[in-house]
Amino acid sequence: MSKSAKRELHIRVDHLTRVEGHGNIVVNVSNGKIEDCRWEVVEAPRFFEAMVRGRKWYEMHHITCRICGICSIGHTLASLQATEAALGIEVSEQTMLLRKLALHAENLQSHILHVGYLVLPDLMGVGSVVPLAGSHPAELKTVIRIHRLSNVFSDTICGRTTHPQRLVPGGFVKYPKVDELKKLRQGLTEALSDLKEVARLVCLLAERFPAFSRETEFIALKSDQEYAMYHGQVGSSDGGTWAPGQYKEVTNEFCVPHSTAKYTKHNRDSYMVGALARFNLNSDRLTPEARAVAGLFKLKPVCYNSFMNNVAQIVECVHSVEDSINIIDRVLGRGLALEDIPPIKVCAGRGVSAVEVPRGILFHDYQYDDAGTCIGANLIIPTNQNHNNIYHDLQALLPSLLGKPEKEIELGLEMLVRAYDPCISCSAHYLKVKFKK
């Protein structure tokens, strides 16, 4: 028996850092045998589904966007779509285009924050982004420039980066100005070269991503028209599509005692959502520059290395910027109109939405009574769908790390979880690594 195989190992990372929310990685190895390897979500549960009961249809997006400060625009859009489906509200083409811009703004902001501020320190071998200000000022300034632009992007379309105010059922209560859109287009065009610089930097460091592979199912929206983000059918890499209203056939939520976040599964033990899932299902619909960046990393579907989710995020940043430039051209080309919200007839009904937000597919399901009061809600957040896949990935990765020094094992496990960009605070329902000696 080798030395490593006899090893006693007890890892407990109490509250994984550089993620949103509280989660722990727990590992116990005795006589070289893995006794325990789990991913605990210990965030305080927040009970949004119960809280929104009794609130009015026009308040739902305002409340449910508070589930997450990082993807509050995505929650707003999912919420609006569910309410609009329930009350039979049709929105204009311009509203649809502006909402797609809002989603791209958030995708860019969230992805660059994760890759630039939270993952880059791992690749550079430091504990946070702070030391990079001294060691790599030019690179950090490029990241900050993109991040700031993404915030200006959100402000321009939504009024605010976090918990947007302009988006309501039926449309917008305030519009960006033509000059602002033109200036934004200029900024986005300049950001393309900044993003390619970040891509080249990460590509130089990409050997730090472990050559890990575990076959799993990928779930993401699919559309015949575009790289699906705002709407589409729920699709699986194992084949098949489902209407958003059939989401329960895909998610199959269940509870586990060590996690305040629910788990999901479909065809296999677990499935993955997020940038890599979207890339794996829809890469042929990416914009040309985004496809070129994927080529730089030799990223091809179907990729089963969860660490490559970080690379898929960079690819999607480029896609979001390019597609946004195209959308702005369409909005300006057709002439920006200050449209009124269409008349809304309140009625009883149920509405389900599925929207791709930075961390994956998000479902909102609302039921209203005839006064437009919410009498039932179900919300399935992307990170919650990933927990089970993270758990199975940890189980698959750990044996390959066992011969290494404890700090390296810990870092490898942490990097794996961080690759998912988990947003545990969404938990409404999430991480510790624990080693014992």
Partner: protein, 246 residues
């Protein structure tokens, strides 16, 4: 002289306020130049138990969180609550008005007993708080202003007059006159009436002013056809922990 040591913590909340700190971009480097961040789970791996200023986001929703916030209070010379969940309890308090057993069962079904919770409350309901940065989310400039005042040993200026003052200054048409609902007349100012300026109405995320004149507010809202019940429902949206909402 060594720089003040700052630690950032979060409880039940959406972490949107920490995101607002990240969103200071280059300005964050100016602020960081004046202090040393020693603990920030969301952004860095290093952590320390020695800090002078604790910035706390989120509300207290479990008995186990009480021990954690008390330990933080014990170590921090100055404790600042940031964001509506921490300052006034925020939207987490909406569940305080429903039966707790029902709330847990509604979300977790027959596994409800695995998950503990109690009536959500602001940080000040458990430990003393030295300063509040109000809002959902916090306003970046206000956060910097409060932190600067504290670093200079001054008491930060937190407005205690209604949002209508900010709204008039911003040059907005009164939303009540437009026939919409608004919490502005009794809500604490300080955000520049940002929601109204962006075409929405004030939902009261900064909480009520101290000693709000509720009779006058009821009369005013009544004049615009808004019932006391509707107004109470709105107070319960963010400020459900306070006496007037119960």
């Amino acid at each position: 002289m060594s720089k003040p040591r700052v630690a950032i913590f979060d409880f039940a909340g959406c972490e949107g306020d920490q995101l607002q700190i990240v969103n200071l971009e280059e300005a964050v480097l100016d602020v960081l130049g004046q202090v040393e961040i020693v603990t920030w789970r969301e952004a860095m791996k290093e952590q320390s138990d020695h800090y002078d200023i604790a910035l706390v986001e989120g509300s207290i929703t479990r008995k186990s969180d009480e021990e954690r916030i008390k330990a933080i209070r014990g170590k921090a010379g100055i404790l600042v609550a940031i964001g509506a969940c921490a300052t006034i309890g925020g939207i987490n308090c909406m569940k305080n008005f429903q039966d707790e057993k029902f709330v847990r069962r509604y979300v977790y079904g027959d596994k409800a007993h695995w998950y503990n919770t109690y009536a959500a409350r602001p940080v000040s309901a458990v430990v003393s708080v030295d300063a509040n940065v109000h809002g959902c989310p916090i306003n970046r400039e206000e956060f910097v202003q409060v932190l600067k005042a504290l670093l200079q040993g001054k008491k930060p200026f937190i407005p205690n007059y209604p949002m209508c003052v900010d709204c008039k200054k911003a040059g907005n048409v009164c939303v009540l006159l437009k026939g919409q609902f608004c919490m502005g007349p009794v809500t604490r100012a300080g955000c520049g009436a940002c929601c109204i300026t962006e075409g929405a109405y004030c939902s009261g995320c900064r909480g009520l002013v101290d000693d709000p004149n509720m009779d006058a507010a009821r009369a005013l809202l009544g004049r615009f056809g808004i019932s006391a019940g509707e107004a109470l429902g709105q107070i319960r949206l963010y400020d459900g922990y306070r006496e007037e909402a119960r």
